[in-house]
């Protein structure tokens, strides 16, 4: 007897709420729409255009893994990237939600909150730089920042070509890795941000092996027998700590034995233009330091 009442109760609730659903209004702050995104690459892009998102996902992890550009305190954390808190998001009067195809499963549900735009940055069929440029342009267009987008694209392009001019043409090839544990690394090849930057700087990526959709592959450290430089990107995970002292295999690597290991601060490996330029800057820095060390030791 009670059960039908329960159902009626729910149905009654529903009809009430449909009426209420139309009352929500959105207001604009500044000259750009109130935008939220669950994708860190898009957070980065928004920030580079001077658009502070109203909300982003997993902000604490963003700060650890993407780090720059830093998010102001005002940005609301809406929880996990794959399952953002919709009720919270809905209370923020959003005008626009940006996602990447990785989160396509939540597109229908998020579109009940605000218009959702899916931006594909990782498209292996196109030129990677062009992908980043396209994403930046699209984000610019969606946030009324087209002019800024063009300026940002141009500034980043110039910055990289400026760095390119200053890098010695005889720089050895680079093998870029990130440690996973003390026996495995992610090696970044075609289709990765790092690879794109290396190519744009006129350098050679030593990793010619197969890579997955995101441009990396997981390999054992014995595969890192490069003649050129071995570039290690931070962070070194807990489980790989001590990799440099007790690891006989690591110590036998040609690059390790001849001091051709470059280490670099963390740069988000799935990033956008800002990460690309930051990687270029850090790489340039690391290469210059390596050059200095090498010329010191050769003059001795």
């Amino acid at each position: 007897m009670v059960r039908p009442f329960v159902i009626l109760f729910f149905l009654a609730l529903m009809s009430l709420s449909v009426e209420a659903a139309t009352s929500g209004t959105s207001q604009q702050v500044g000259d750009y729409p109130r935008v939220a995104t669950v994708d860190w690459t898009l957070v980065e892009t928004l920030m580079s255009l001077g658009v502070v998102p109203v909300a982003a996902a997993q902000i604490k992890d963003y700060q650890a893994w993407v780090a720059e550009p830093a998010l102001p305190e005002s940005v609301v954390d809406i929880g996990l990237r794959g399952q953002p808190n919709r009720e919270l998001a809905a209370s923020l009067n959003l005008d626009l939600i940006l996602i990447s195809p990785l989160f396509s499963a939540i597109e229908p549900t998020l579109s009940q909150i605000a218009p959702v735009q899916t931006l594909t940055t990782y498209n292996p069929e196109n030129d990677f730089w062009q992908n980043l440029v396209d994403t930046t342009r699209q984000v610019g267009k969606l946030t009324n920042r087209s002019a800024e987008a063009e300026a940002v694209i141009e500034r980043h392009r110039l910055r990289i070509s400026h760095l390119k001019e200053n890098i010695a043409v005889d720089t050895p090839s680079l093998l870029v890795v990130q440690f996973i544990d003390d026996r495995h690394v992610r090696a970044y090849g075609k289709g990765s941000l790092y690879d794109m930057v290396i190519n744009r700087l006129g350098l050679q990526n030593a990793w010619k092996g197969q890579t997955n959709m995101w441009g990396y592959t997981t390999v054992g450290i014995e595969k890192l027998t490069t003649q050129g430089y071995l570039v290690v990107v931070d962070p070194i995970p807990m489980s790989a700590e001590g990799v440099f002292e007790d690891n006989k295999l690591w110590q036998a690597l040609p690059a390790v034995r001849s001091d051709r290991v470059l280490s670099m601060p963390a740069v988000w490996s799935f990033g956008a233009l800002p990460s690309a330029v930051r990687f270029a800057e850090e790489l340039y820095q690391a290469l210059s330091e390596q050059r200095a060390i090498e010329s010191d030791s050769s003059t001795l």
Binding site: V6, I7, Q83, N85, T109, E222
Partner: protein
């Protein structure tokens, strides 16, 4: 008297493995050594000859050879652990993985790494040992009341494994990036970079072998009945404790080095026994030898052909995948000593009366929890009791979830009550039948192989794989008339496929993992109003249909013969019920994922509340199931606000605690 052929038989399987291993090893070393620049290393082109030689020597010395050694040692350790467990528990399917020891050890290490890295300084195997011992204790206490009957122990092992899986999923969900490195280890990677692991494990294994040798004679007397052993002056309890402790210690040592290596610990003792190693001494000798060779051969094959695979497949996960079919093959061949259901131990009495007041209480609770779930929430500003201004939020975000959670809870509870009554086994649950794992396997594969994941695609592939699983269950059990124990064991074998696949996915660190993990942990997140409402209405329809099966479910727990005598065509009824359970489970899995424990818990709770006849039991379970899932969903949205913990995980965690607290009584 030991006959000659008994000594020789296990050698028939060991020898070919040894030869294969030697050939592949030789091939591997040869391809690494002389001509480094062209064969195995693409990137060394241009290395000077001396550099290349040094590197290839280092690879052989510090990677290939230690890897061979560790494979042999780990395989041997697990084989030894398996023999001891099987002997002590007199259980042919006991092993470090089936009893949850390996996963317990691993969870201990994961927890320590995340929250108390200082503990690891004392030696990671002690942390692993604690974890493994706790989960073994749990398994044994869960199956104690059934006299540690083999199937009961393994069922308890599966339940503990699932629970640990739920716990580690919470950790992974919220510490995804931190866990990157741990996932390869967790999946059982044998990759080495020095001899330190080998030197670590070798002395421990030697000590374990010696100790096992010392207790071999008294242990073998356990094959006699206990009083016989006791009369020979053996403290049976101490002996068992030493045997189990030893096996947990070896398992923990191996797990702390290379993660979970599935099924070697089960396969090695069973296969050498089938090959003629009948006495305990023979098995203690041959199982480690065979286990080592089995793991080595698998590993070498993977090493040889891993370049052709699209993703990295850690050896431990691979043996796990190979082990599931092995278990399926083994089940019909095992002599499972009597744990036939008998009415005296079964808590399904026909006598007690349904309690109408209890129904009223439960419905009231259900109503209250629904109201709380709909109206009370945390927000950016703290706790709020929703006023009328937020109807929109309630209708859009809360109502669908409450409906879906209720629907899934009811479906699972009905499935659980049915399977528990049908198999007369209080540890049975929809998860145990393997339907939800089968569905999950299908969904993982779909997500992995398709670039554009949509909800309808997931539903279609989930439903397809659920029915394939059901087909396998029916196919493998048609001859035995869907006898409870075989049915449950088949389910366990299917469920065993799920874990390795999950760990391969996790080990590869695929960015899509977030979605997979979120779904696997049982979220109502993706439900919209219409699907939530249909889930709920479907569940209500199912409840209203329960009178149709009530008589069957009253008679089945009485045992096959009684039921037959009362005019029930048992085999047909079991098939119908099996299909019914499969449909209920598949529907619920599509809504809230494979892990929830609602199907295990709700029927238990309902029985503890006094609903013992089939009809009130089913309906009571349904209400409890709905109550459990609604509360779990609501808690999940509040506890870590703004992050949402999937309802399935919360339900599992609640369920697990209930188990530890309550199930000892059975």
């Amino acid at each position: 008297m030991i006959q000659l052929n008994r000594w020789v038989s296990p050698a028939y399987v060991c020898l070919p493995l040894a030869i294969i291993s030697i050939v592949i090893t030789f091939n591997l070393i040869q391809s690494t050594l002389p001509d480094l620049s062209y064969r195995s290393f693409n990137f060394s082109v241009g290395l000077s000859t001396s550099e290349a030689t040094t590197m290839s020597k280092a690879v052989i010395q510090f990677s290939v050879l230690p890897r061979i050694a560790i494979a042999l040692l780990v395989g041997a350790a697990l084989g030894l652990a398996g023999v001891l467990m099987q002997q002590v528990l007199r259980n042919p399917i006991a092993s470090p993985t089936t009893l949850g020891v390996a996963s317990g050890a691993q969870l201990g290490l994961l927890l320590a790494t995340l929250f108390a890295p200082g503990l690891l300084a004392f030696g990671s195997e002690w942390v692993a040992l604690a974890g493994g011992a706790i989960s073994l204790l749990l398994v044994l206490s869960l199956s104690w009341h059934r006299g540690l009957a083999p199937v009961a122990v393994v069922l308890a092992g599966l339940v503990v494994n699932l629970y640990i899986g739920a716990l580690s999923t919470v950790l992974i969900l919220f510490h995804q990036e931190d866990f990157r490195g741990l996932m390869i280890w967790a999946a059982g990677s044998l990759a080495q970079n020095s001899w330190s692991d080998t030197l670590h494990l070798l002395p421990r294994l030697v000590i374990a072998v010696i100790l096992a040798g010392l207790i071999a004679r008294p242990l073998s007397l356990l094959e006699l009945d206990e009083s016989g052993a006791r009369s020979l002056g053996i403290s049976v309890r101490k002996l068992r404790l030493v045997g189990l402790g030893l096996s947990v210690f070896i398992t923990a040592s191996a797990v702390s080095l290379v993660g979970i290596v599935g099924f070697v610990g089960l396969a090695a003792p069973v296969i050498v026994k089938l090959m003629g190693a009948r006495s305990l001494a023979q098995r203690l000798l041959w199982a480690p030898v065979f286990g080592g060779l089995l793991l080595l051969t698998t590993d070498l094959f993977l090493l040889q052909y891993s370049a052709q695979l699209p993703s990295m497949v850690p050896t431990g996960a691979m043996t796990g995948l190979l082990g599931a079919p092995l278990l399926l093959w083994l089940i019909p061949r095992l002599a499972l000593k009597g744990s036939a259901p008998n009415t005296s131990t079964m808590p399904f009495q026909l006598t007690s009366k349904p309690n109408p007041r209890m129904f009223a209480w439960l419905l009231a609770l259900l109503l209250i929890s629904s109201i709380v779930a709909l109206f009370v929430t945390r927000s950016a500003a703290g706790w709020v009791l929703t006023d009328t201004g937020q109807w929109e939020a309630i209708a859009n975000w809360r109502l669908p979830r409450v409906l879906a959670a209720a629907g899934a809870g009811i479906l699972l509870a009905l499935a659980g009550a049915t399977i528990q009554r049908m198999t007369a086994n209080p540890m049975a649950s929809p998860e145990v039948l393997g339907i939800s794992s089968g569905t999950a396997v299908g969904l993982i594969l779909t997500i992995y192989f398709s670039s554009n994941i949509t909800v309808p695609l997931l539903i279609v592939s989930g439903a397809t794989s659920a029915f394939i699983t059901l087909g396998v269950l029916i196919f493998l059990n048609r001859r035995t008339g869907f006898q409870s124990e075989r049915l449950l064991l088949t389910g366990i074998a299917i469920a065993a496929l799920f874990e390795p696949l999950r760990s391969i996915f996790l080990a590869n660190g695929d960015p899509r993992i977030q979605q997979v993990v979120a779904w696997m942990s049982g979220s109502t997140y993706y439900v919209d109003f219409s699907s939530g409402l249909s889930a709920f209405l479907l569940a209500v329809v199912m409840v209203s249909l329960t009178p149709l099966v009530a008589r069957w479910l009253d008679l089945l727990p009485l045992g096959r013969n009684v039921a037959l005598g009362l005019g029930l065509s048992v085999d047909k009824v079991r098939l119908v019920l099996l299909v019914l359970v499969a449909i209920l489970t598949a529907l619920a899995t599509l809504i809230v994922g494979p892990l929830s424990f609602a199907g295990l818990l709700a029927p238990h709770a309902a029985r503890m509340l006094g609903f013992s006849k089939a009809l009130p039991h089913l309906v009571g379970s349904a209400i409890v199931g709905a109550l459990l899932m609604i509360s779990a969903d609501w808690l999940g949205r509040q506890v870590l606000f703004p992050q949402e913990i999937p309802a399935g995980l919360i339900a599992s965690l609640l369920g697990g605690s209930y188990f530890i607290w309550g199930l000892r009584r059975y």
